[in-house]
Assembly symmetry: C2
Homo-oligomer: 284 residues x 2
C-alpha cells in the first residue's frame, strides 16, 4: 500500500540526536489507561477524554523530553474510538512539537507481507516516527519495518517484567538469548542505521552488557518510575561512549502523578525532576 | 476495564472440538488485503468494501471450516476504518455462524498490565474467541491472556517464514528454542486448558516434534496454500492421537482464488478442495 505521507523528510535517529544534543533523554509514555485518567479530564466520550488528557500532558512536558511514546494497547482497548484517539494524539504532537520523534510502542511482529500492514498502520496511517517490534520471527520477517530507512525500528531485547528470563535468559553456547538478539540487531539488522533496542531498567547488568555490544545504538529504557528501577544506575549502565544513546521512558509515574485537576502541572513537576536527575547522573 | 460481553458462555476449545467432531479442520484466514480485493467487492469506502468482501467469503465457506481467523495487520493498515471493518466482520461471523470460533491473529505481547488492554481489545471489544500471542516476554507477562479461561491463547511457536530459525533454532542444551517454547506452554502455561500453538506447515519435522511434546493441544498451522506447504504431510505430522488437534489455516489461497466477480464461488471451491484433502489425509 503506497500512502503519500505528510511526514516525509523526518528521520527518527536525526530527531533523537538533536534532542540528545539539547541534553534531553526523557521519554514520556502516554500509556493513557482510561480508567486512571483524572476526573477533570473526562469530557464527552472516551476518545475526546483520551485526547484531551494527552494534549494536556504533551503541552506540560514537551520541552523536557527527547520523545513521546504511545503504547497501542491502551488505545486498542477502546477499539476504533481508541485508534482515533491514538492518531489524533500523534497528529497533535506533530503540530505542537514537530521536532520531537513519536514512538509507537506496539511490539508488533508477523511474517513477510503481513508486516507491510503493520508498517502502513504505524508510519503511514498513524504517522509515528518509530515502532517497537518483537524479534521472535527474525530479521527476514521484519524487513518491511527495517526497510523504512527514516523510521526507527526499536527491537524488544530484554523486557522489564519479573518473568522476562523464561526465554530471554536461556543460554545458547554460553550467551543468553537477549544478548544474541542485541548482537544480531547491531551486526546484521542495522544496515540502514535505523535500529534501536528496548532493555528494561529493572535488569542493570543486562543493560550494561547490551550497551557494550551495540555501540551507540539508541536504547529505549522503561522500568524507572512505577517499576522502581534505579535511575542513576540505569543512566550509567545505559549511556554510550558519548554520554548519549539513552531514551529513558517513564509513563505512569509522570502522567498519573496526580489524580486531581492539577494532573498536568504534577506531570510537569515529575518530568522536570526526572529530566534533572538524568542530567545529573550523566555528568557524574 | 470491565466490559459486559455478549459473548459469555462461549468457550474456544469447546467450539473447536465440536467442529473437529464434524470432521472440519480448515480455518479460512480473512487476510483481506484491500489492494487485492476484487474490483467487484469495491463498494463505497474501504471499510464497507472490506466488510462486503469478508461477508461474501464467510457465507461461501462457513460450512466447511472449524474456525475463521482474521489477521489484524490487514485491518490496522486502514486505521480506525480498518478496526471498524474488523469488528463488524467478527460480529457478522457470530451472527451467521455462532458455532464457529473466531481467532484474532494479532501476535500480541507486552508486559503486565499493558496486556489487559490487548485482552480487552481482542475479547471484549472485538469479541474474538482466541488471540495469537508472541512468547518472548514469558508466561508471567502473558497472564492477562492466560487467565481468560474461555478464550484461546494461541502461542507463536515455530513461524512459517524462511528466516524463522534465526532465533527459534538456537540450541539451548541440545534443544531448539521453539521446542522449549512448546514444552513450556504444554507443561507450565496451560493450567486453564486454553492454550494452543502456531507451527508453520513449512517446517514438517518441527511440526511432528512439537506434536509429540504437546499431546492433544490444538496446533494452528499456516503455510499450506500460498506458502506451498505439503498438505498431506502436514496433516500427518500435525494430527494428535485422536486424529484431531489441527487447525489448517489457508488465507490468500482461498480468499483470493479468483480476482473476478466469481471470487466467493472460487473461494468455496478452493475451500472445498482443501477440506476434502484434509479429510482424505486424516483417514490414510
Amino acid at each position: 500500500m503506497v500512502v503519500c505521507s505528510p511526514m516525509n523528510g523526518r528521520n527518527f535517529r536525526q530527531l533523537l540526536e538533536a534532542k540528545w544534543e539539547q541534553g534531553k533523554f526523557l521519554c514520556v509514555g502516554l500509556d493513557s489507561d482510561f480508567e486512571k485518567i483524572p476526573e477533570s479530564a473526562h469530557i464527552d466520550g472516551t476518545r475526546e477524554s483520551l485526547v484531551y488528557f494527552n494534549r494536556a500532558i504533551v503541552d506540560a512536558t514537551k520541552d523536557l523530553v527527547c520523545a513521546f511514546k504511545l503504547n497501542s494497547a491502551f488505545y486498542e482497548a477502546h477499539g476504533d474510538e481508541g485508534w482515533q484517539a491514538l492518531r489524533e494524539t500523534i497528529q497533535y504532537i506533530h503540530e505542537v512539537a514537530p521536532e520531537l520523534p513519536v514512538i509507537l510502542d506496539a511490539k508488533r511482529a508477523d511474517i513477510g507481507n503481513t508486516n507491510n500492514g503493520y508498517a502502513a498502520a504505524a508510519f503511514d496511517h498513524l504517522h509515528a516516527d518509530a515502532i517497537t517490534v518483537n524479534p521472535y520471527p527474525g530479521r527476514e520477517a521484519l524487513s518491511p519495518f527495517l526497510e523504512r530507512k527514516d523510521k526507527g525500528v526499536v527491537v524488544w531485547c530484554r523486557t522489564s517484567n519479573e518473568g522476562a528470563g523464561e526465554f530471554q535468559d536461556l543460554q545458547v553456547g554460553g550467551e543468553p538469548l537477549y544478548s544474541i538478539v542485541a548482537r544480531h540487531v547491531a551486526e546484521k539488522w542495522n544496515e540502514n542505521g535505523n535500529c534501536a533496542l528496548v532493555v528494561g531498567a529493572t535488569y542493570l547488568e543486562e543493560l550494561a552488557e547490551v550497551r557494550k555490544t551495540v555501540g551507540d545504538m539508541p536504547i529505549l529504557i522503561p522500568g524507572i518510575g512505577a517499576q522502581n528501577g534505579d535511575l542513576e544506575k540505569t543512566v550509567k549502565a545505559g549511556k554510550d561512549d558519548r554520554g548519549r544513546g539513552i531514551i529513558i521512558a517513564a509513563s505512569r509515574a509522570v502522567i498519573f502523578a496526580s489524580s486531581g485537576a492539577d494532573f498536568a502541572q504534577a506531570a510537569r513537576e515529575k518530568a522536570t525532576a526526572l529530566h534533572g536527575a538524568i542530567k545529573a547522573a550523566l555528568v557524574q
